[in-house]
């Protein structure tokens, strides 16, 4: 099945003969180059009864433009190969050619479901470089908006997972809640999705009346609505049977694969950046870190339930933020053009999908010399190959949806 090297040049697309061929439009799953690694040559050779199933990049259930080549034997997935890069935009290079203020808008569309966290980590790293003290009110606003967005992301995750398992209704209920949240964030940021709200040394604007009234309305029914929405799925026998014992991730594998976030906590490791490396005002807030799968690792159902627990904790944090929020400025005084001292900084936040980190090297100019973005979706995506082997085709949806990847962050 593999193309051998030196078989002559491929016919050009302008060659008229290719139109007579009849083979045009039929894409080979096998790459058009000879295998580069041992793993590739092993994967792209078929045994008896096996076939390739090319899923994506335009497949309804791959959460963006992910292409997964499945090697299947009947309904069973023998092996699989995720092919990334269909959404690569070179954001890190763009950041290295923008000045520090512009970077915030460059990183925004990376993880488009929870874009405030993609701003938060670089902003924190730049503040370390510049030795800026962020006003306490700004920190509280960051935590408040961040936790709102975490809820929105987890609620959307619930709808997605139901849609991938064939349930039509929960996604629309999820979108109602998400719409409330993005509308209230739009009241202070002016955007519904790519907020561009955090600034080096604070946030772009103070909370306003519309935000507070929307938030108050929503908070009065959010917890009850959340319980009602998860009641749709958690009590459903078909859903539970399709999620339980599928894609079990044990503690050592999770740690070895550098997993983070809810996927790690559902494998029994109580690691949360908000507790392990406290930042912002999280040390002052009282919340629990939900952990599941402490005996023998977590399955897809654990990963789902843990995120639903986290929504409750986030609601607690929002409540405390509203009670403890101090008065004062929301922006530190900073010059227009930032030239940090030469040096390097690392900052990490707990995004809805795990540890979201930024590593910056400054050479003293107004642009970073190097900026590396650590995206949790990319790291968690490594697990797909491990967790899906031996399952059925239908389970690949359950596993992939339960890992909650966002392709914008994976391809960068």
């Amino acid at each position: 099945m593999t193309a051998s090297p030196g078989t002559g040049q491929h016919p050009s697309m302008d060659d008229p003969r290719i139109m007579l061929d009849g083979q045009i439009g039929q894409f080979e799953t096998v790459p058009p180059y000879p295998p580069r690694t041992e793993r590739e040559s092993e994967f792209y050779s078929l045994r008896d009864g096996e076939m390739f199933l090319n899923m994506g990049p335009q497949h309804p259930a791959t959460h963006g433009v992910l292409r997964v080549v499945l090697k299947i034997n009947g309904e069973q997935v023998v092996d699989l190969d995720p092919v990334l890069g269909y959404l690569h935009r070179g954001v890190e290079k763009l950041c290295e050619n923008s000045d520090y203020h512009h970077i915030i808008s460059q990183v925004d569309p990376l993880e488009y479901v929870s874009s405030l966290f993609t701003e938060w980590a670089p902003v924190m790293a730049f503040e370390q470089l510049l030795d800026v003290q962020v006003p306490r009110r700004a920190e509280y606003i960051r935590v408040l908006t961040g936790e709102l967005l975490r809820i929105s992301s987890h609620i959307l995750y619930q709808g997605w997972i139901a849609l991938d398992l064939g349930g039509l209704t929960p996604i629309l209920y999820s979108f109602i809640e998400r719409d409330e949240i993005v509308e209230m964030l739009a009241a202070i940021t002016g955007q519904r999705m790519l907020f561009n709200y955090f600034r080096i040394g604070g946030v772009n604007g103070d909370l306003n009346h519309e935000f507070m009234s929307r938030l108050g309305d929503w908070m009065s029914r959010a917890a009850k609505q959340h319980e009602a929405n998860i009641g749709l799925l958690n009590e459903n026998e078909i859903f539970v049977r399709r999620m339980r014992d599928i894609g079990r991730l044990d503690r050592t594998t999770a740690l070895r694969m550098a997993t983070s976030g809810p996927n790690l906590r559902s494998a029994g490791v109580p690691y949360d950046v908000r507790r392990a490396h406290p930042y912002s005002v999280y040390p002052e807030l009282d919340f629990d870190i939900p952990v599941r799968g402490t005996n023998g690792g977590g399955d897809s159902l654990d990963r789902y339930l843990l995120r639903m627990d986290e929504v409750r904790e986030s609601l607690k944090i929002i409540d405390q933020c509203l009670h403890n929020m101090p008065d004062g400025p929301v922006m530190a005084r900073l010059p227009r053009l930032l030239r940090p001292r030469p040096g390097r900084a690392w900052a990490a936040v707990e995004a809805p999908r795990g540890l979201y980190g930024t590593y910056v090297i400054s050479d003293g100019t107004d642009q970073p010399f190097r900026m590396k973005i650590h995206d949790p979706s990319f790291v968690n995506m490594q697990l797909v190959g491990l967790l899906m082997k031996g399952n059925l085709i239908a389970d690949t949806m359950a596993v992939m949806a339960s890992l909650d990847p966002v392709m914008g962050g994976i391809d960068k």
């Binding site: 390739f52 139901a162 849609l163 399709r242 085709i393 239908a394």
Partner: protein, 456 residues
């Protein structure tokens, strides 16, 4: 004459040709028809009368084909709208009142789309597979009794025919999946083969107990045996059988939660992936016709077919009314009938208009008259419906049958809005480990009960 000349001059060339032709057709055709009826009619009637079975069959096929498309349209619209309300959406609301013509327009769209064939597809099989699927679906209608006497063919092996023809649908799906030259289609076709063949067995076995009780395989006589009060329905004598039949029939119709063959998040659209245009339309219609058939079968077998839940004759007898004497003989009225027919609308319009006129004197009188006339029409239509309901039992039967069948269609739509999809191994495990033993148990209990009751 000049006016006629002028209008003739205004006609286009096409009009000058078509108008005389139209006149000829309008004059000549009725004459021909009368002549035909005079000379050939009696002979034709003799031929038709002597071959009544064949005539009935042809008429039934025509009726079934004409009926199945609107039924599918109604179910598609119902599904769009009901699921929309379950999802807190509005659903289709553009074409027709409340979007009622939406599925009709969608059907037109499907008709006008390009009928695409993949270059590597097996063209003959690819073309005829949807026709096979649709045909086998529609053929099932032949034995379903929609009302007393409203049955295409009252076969004495009706149940057998039903399962034989219904089982053929899977051949069409498999062919569609195989001939498309697409891996998703292939998986969908194989899934449907595995699923339908597995669920065929509990489906058939769940009805065997009922056949033992009913002593017949004719659907018409199964329906007749359930007349009277609703306690005569077979669901009360075969509750387990009814449950198994419902579940297995859901899987047979490829409906959620058993819609693995077209699982959109796994295998794109299953066997229908490569289809477009009216070929896709056939597959699509077949699915919804199937939903109606399954609902109609559940109604026929277990929920009293066309019988009303209340035995209205028994109530009349209890109260002491004979409905036949109540109904009026119009011939006895003579010339009075004309006066009655002329006066009733006028008098009743005035009667209905009076309250509106008295309530709102400020508004003009004609408004209340219009309202009164409309109200009279509503009441008259209602009254006529009641009269037909009482006098012709097939009207009553059709109304009850459709009401029950669409109640089950609603249940299927409701399930689609609520359930996720089951996995293939759960699906097969459920069929072989639970449904089949349960169906056998049901059959055993029924047979044993019959033996015991007879020996007593």
């Amino acid at each position: 004459m000049t006016a006629l000349n002028r209008s003739w001059g205004n006609l286009t060339a096409f009009g000058k040709v078509i108008l005389p032709l139209l006149l000829v057709v309008l004059v000549v055709l009725p004459v021909l028809a009368v002549l035909f009826l005079m000379f050939v009619g009696p002979w034709l009637m003799d031929v038709l009368n002597s071959n009544l079975g064949i005539v009935r069959f042809v008429v039934a096929i025509g009726g079934v084909l004409l009926f199945s498309i609107p039924a599918a349209f109604i179910i598609i619209y119902m599904e769009l709208k009901v699921i929309a309300y379950m999802n807190l959406r509005v659903g289709p609301n553009r074409v027709g009142p409340g979007g009622a013509a939406h599925s009709l327009v969608a059907g037109l769209k499907v008709l006008t789309k390009e009928d695409f064939t993949p270059s590597s597809a097996d063209v003959v099989v690819f073309t005829w597979a949807p026709v096979l699927v649709f045909l086998t679906c529609v053929m099932t209608f032949l034995v379903i009794p929609f009302g007393p006497g409203l049955v295409g063919q009252d076969m004495n092996i009706g149940v057998l025919y039903l399962f034989a023809v219904g089982g053929m649908t899977v051949v069409g799906l498999l062919l569609a999946g195989w001939s498309s030259f697409n891996k998703y289609s292939l998986l969908g076709g194989l899934r449907s083969a595995a699923q339908v063949v597995s669920y065929e067995i509990p489906l058939t076995l769940s009805v065997v107990g009922l056949i033992l009780l009913a002593h017949t395989m004719s659907l018409n006589s199964i329906a007749e045996q359930q007349s009277g009060w609703f306690t005569n329905w077979f669901v009360f004598r075969q509750p387990l059988g009814a449950l198994i039949f419902f579940i297995a029939a859901t899987a047979e119709a490829n409906r959620t939660p058993f819609d693995l063959t077209e699982a959109d998040s796994e295998i794109v659209a299953g066997f229908a992936t490569e289809y477009s245009g009216m070929r896709f339309g056939f597959l699509f219609f077949a699915e919804y016709v199937n939903v109606f058939i399954v609902s109609a079968l559940i109604t026929t077998f277990f929920f009293g077919a066309w019988n009303a839940p209340i035995d209205i004759n028994a109530i009349f007898a209890m109260v002491g009314i004979d409905p036949i004497t109540v109904s009026l003989d119009p011939g006895s009225l003579g010339i009075g009938l004309v006066l009655l027919v002329l006066s009733v609308p006028v008098v009743m319009t005035l009667v209905f208009a009076a309250p509106f006129y008295l309530a709102r004197r400020s508004s003009p009188a004609w408004q209340s008259l219009v309202l009164g006339f409309l109200l009279f029409n509503l009441v008259a239509i209602g009254g006529l419906f009641m009269l037909t309901y009482i006098s012709w039992d097939w009207v009553a039967g059709l109304v009850w049958f459709m009401a029950k069948a669409f109640a089950f269609v609603y249940v299927f739509v409701w399930m689609r809005g609520t359930f996720p999809r089951v996995r293939i191994d759960h699906l097969m495990g459920f069929a072989w480990k639970w449904l089949l033993p349960a169906a056998l148990l049901n059959l055993f209990i029924t047979a044993a009960a019959i033996v015991v009751v007879k020996s007593l």
